[in-house]
């Protein structure tokens, strides 16, 4: 399943360790949500994204999905610069993504998420006092367009009543990953439609 190289794995081993620990703890804590209502939640997320007609609407849809379905009101969309491969804050809600310390904290795990190619859950670096049962986590979701990872959505500081990441959340992360990108990167859509191999930056 993992696509990252041994070098990347070595570089990010400490994050991977945290992710596994946090993920397992949160999956245990999150089992109380109702299986037969899973489809309703997932379809609401998918429908909301699919009815968004441009980037602004898609960002609003992401904010609504995170707030109402995931229990998170702080988020940053980090785009990958095509030339340098570096991340830059494209949009944020609830936090100041322009702060240097914020970008420094997010860049490494976001890079790991992009290298991994799948959602990555990390324990909050500032969360020294939280219990092992309900650790605070930051979730990194790769945003794809036509199979390529264009950005990483970082979901930070989940609401206090949100005690765990469960299977519904994982499905929502998957939908965000697969469907949010189509309206966020219109220049890519234009390039793809015109058949141009060189996309504009």
């Amino acid at each position: 399943m993992t696509k990252h190289t041994p070098i990347i794995e070595k570089k990010f081993r400490r994050f991977l360790g945290d992710a596994n620990e946090a993920l397992m703890a949160n999956l245990r804590a999150g089992r109380n949500r109702t299986p037969h209502l899973v489809d309703v939640v997932i379809e609401a997320a998918r429908e909301r994204l699919r009815e968004s007609l441009d980037a602004a609407e898609t960002l609003e849809a992401i904010r609504e999905i995170a707030s109402n379905l995931l229990g998170c009101e702080n988020m940053v969309l980090l785009c990958i610069d095509r030339k340098t491969g570096a991340f830059y804050p494209f949009w944020s809600f609830g936090i100041d993504a322009a702060k240097r310390s914020m970008m420094e904290a997010l860049e490494e795990p976001a890079s790991y998420c992009a290298a991994l190619g799948s959602t990555y859950i990390a324990r909050d670096l500032e969360d020294q006092s939280a219990s092992r049962q309900h650790p605070r986590v930051t979730v990194f979701v790769p945003i794809r367009y036509q199979g390529e990872i264009k950005a990483v959505l970082a979901l930070l500081q989940f609401l206090p009543q949100k005690l765990g990441i469960d299977m519904i959340d994982n499905e929502i992360f998957r939908i965000l990953s697969e469907e949010a990108g189509s309206m966020l990167f219109p220049e890519d859509a234009g390039a793809a439609a015109s058949g141009s191999p060189e996309r504009q930056s």
Binding site: V40, A44, N68, G71
Partner: protein
């Protein structure tokens, strides 16, 4: 018995989509919607719902104010109101009950608990 009617109020399309689907797929209740407090008061007057499920943080008029207004008006005074919000802090919950709500639940909604709560007010 006529179908029970629920007024769902939220400025988030996502929340309305999800709540409406939960209610209509898993119960016989009927839904009407509003996207802010002012519209909620108008719909509560015109649609006479059996219960109101309302977000707190909304444009034009928030859920607390709308709840107070509904309690002041003869036609809507007795309608049960459930406030639904991301804000779970004690002072918000207290403000919710002071505004006259019957119940206060936090997002993200647990679907099963949400439907059980509706059933407790409306019956099966």
């Amino acid at each position: 018995m006529a179908s029970r009617k629920i007024l769902l109020v939220d400025d988030s399309k996502t929340a309305l989509l999800m709540e409406r689907s939960m209610v209509e797929r898993h119960s016989s209740y009927q839904c009407v919607t509003a996207s802010n407090g002012l519209e909620a008061i108008e719909k509560a007057q015109s649609e006479c719902p059996d219960i109101v499920v309302m977000d707190v943080v909304m444009p034009h008029m928030n859920g607390f104010e709308a709840c107070k207004k509904m309690r002041e008006q003869e036609k809507t005074r007795a309608i049960p109101i459930i406030l639904v919000t991301t804000r779970g802090e004690e002072n918000y919950i207290e403000a919710g009950f002071q505004s006259g709500c019957n119940d206060y639940i936090t997002k993200p909604i647990n679907g099963q608990e949400f439907l059980k709560l509706l059933q407790s007010y409306l019956g099966e």
